[in-house]
Symmetry: C2
Subunit: 335 residues, 2 copies
């Protein structure tokens, strides 16, 4: 049977939440990933050194028997130099949310005033702390990411040494930015390499495929596939796996987020094999990230096998993408 | 208190369904409308004279005490001349669905072969039977209606005396067709004068605002508002009120359709007043339709009052648009 082995897979954009949800989902990521960048949009957000340390402890307690490194982030606010110096060794990046743009982002940035942000961003640049950005305006849902490109340009040119990660990109417009500014990078999810808006609302309405940024047009999907499949060196895998309780996804006014953590490596194998690019998956899912962030991931060897895998209906109280459906690859072993 | 009176309101595109659903929703339309064009997409579809007569009887039985004319339609197939002559006096139009494009449309037209359709469409033209069309391709969800414009052009130029109604239009592209071909007309819903895709999936995912065709972009909304508010003489109100049981709307894989029948006149007053165009609502909601179809509607005088109206959470087992929310106009009296 066909197999494919990945070394040190990394999920460079992950929501682990807290409490019972953390205990439910963290072991699933820890099983197959060497490490993951953990998003700070808790309630309240992670914004002090104590928050970072305590959240990291809770994560480690949720995955006691696995080798798994949670790379911690702070929720972006304007922080002073002294604070940033004190926290630099404990975080891998700072995550910026425009205010109110997605789940638990109410305390985010309301306006991009470079003057007000300068101390924080220049200090981050000096200390080598990357800035991860949820790049959407509050405009029309299909235009939000493309409209944000001018803000990426402003940030990239104002702080040319600051590494800026365009998180979970979904558009051709964002792909085109990668080669325009040396200090712009991107993460791409598994589901945005599969879905367009058609899958979300083209037939029936599918709450478990509803996320922010929403899946876009066919030409956007093509652009994302192009850079992911070639493992463009500025592009990394970040699942943006975003669990919500089943009842929150399946009620009127369903919350945004696709839960892919336990099936993302399988999906990636399926996608990359379909385009005959399995040989580039290692770079997309680990090597690029290690180069970009300058990290050395914990050893883990994951072997996947090409055989039908029926995705469970739920993991605990969370419904995954493709629940009950069959995908073409399964986890064979983890060492 | 401000009031506004409408004479003989007509809903030129309505789904009444059958059985218990028919009994639930038909009285709601019959209360405020003089008549409505009733869609034929039952299971199985309405496609014989007996079907038409029997369905009309069931509708009349569901609204025993109201003056209400159900204008009957046939489900488009290729029919022969003799059949069309026999049924002409019993229907107001024939409704064409591309196969599989929306609820119960599986038996629709699979390919637009004018040769094969000629006998039917030419006979309809000769007999003065309008063709109502659900104009969507099976393309990307945001492009389906715009892509259908070439088929409208083909139909309009091949049968220049056939009245063709572009049903529930949602795009600037369709609005622009109105003045290009003399024999093209359109219906517009109330919800497509309010919603864009933003309302459906821009914040939370809203199943009760999910319909086909899906609400489009802001510039499309603007184009629809322009022709509706001026009561362009080729444009008519058609609610496309499309009830589904609550559990079918609020489950994973929610069915398409917005239920507006009992609140549509109130919504229209709110919209037209907001743009200071209440004086054009009579034409949009009745006069244009009577001119286009050459019908003389049953007398009905509906007076609306500008006062807060709390939309019920449900009508029977159906959830209306804006359930539990407040709209600015209410029905004051019906004579």
């Amino acid at each position: 049977m066909k197999t494919h082995t990945l070394l040190m897979p990394l999920d460079m954009h992950l929501h682990l939440r807290d409490g019972l949800m953390l205990d439910t989902v963290a072991p699933l990521s820890a099983y197959t990933y060497s490490g993951a960048i953990v998003m700070p949009n808790l309630v309240p957000p992670v914004e002090t050194l104590e928050d970072v340390k305590a959240y990291k402890q809770r994560i480690m307690a949720a995955v006691p028997n696995d080798f798994f490194e949670p790379y911690m982030t702070l929720f972006y606010k304007n922080y002073d130099k002294a604070f940033l110096k004190s926290v630099a060794d404990h975080i891998i990046a700072i995550k910026l949310y425009p205010a109110g743009i997605t789940t638990n982002s109410e305390g985010g940035v309301a306006s991009f005033n470079i003057g007000e942000m300068r101390e924080t961003l220049q200090t981050m640049s000096d200390l080598g702390i990357p800035l991860c950005v949820h790049g959407e305006t509050d405009g029309f849902v299909m235009d939000r990411e493309a409209e944000f490109m001018s803000i990426y340009e402003l940030l990239a040119t104002s702080f040319p040494k600051l590494k800026i990660i365009m998180e979970h990109i979904t558009t051709k417009a964002a792909v085109e930015m990668l080669d325009k500014h040396e200090n712009l990078y991107a993460t791409i999810t598994a589901h945005h390499l599969i879905l367009t808006l058609d899958d979300v609302v083209g037939g029936m309405m599918k709450p478990h495929l509803f996320c922010k940024p929403i899946a876009k047009r066919p030409e956007d999907l093509d652009a994302l596939l192009t850079v992911a499949l070639e493992a463009h060196p500025k592009v990394m895998f970040g699942s943006d796996s975003a669990p919500h309780p089943k009842e929150k996804k399946e009620s009127c006014g369903c919350a945004a987020g696709v839960f892919t953590a336990p099936i993302s490596l399988q999906l990636l194998c399926e996608i990359f094999e379909q385009y005959d690019k399995l040989h580039n998956l290692q770079a997309f899912v680990s090597d690029n990230a290690q180069n970009i962030y300058g990290i050395c991931a914990e050893f883990k060897e994951v072997t996947l096998e090409k055989r039908p895998f029926v995705v469970p209906e739920t993991y605990g109280f969370v419904v995954p993408m493709y629940a009950g459906e069959i995908i073409a690859w399964a986890i064979e072993s983890v060492d």
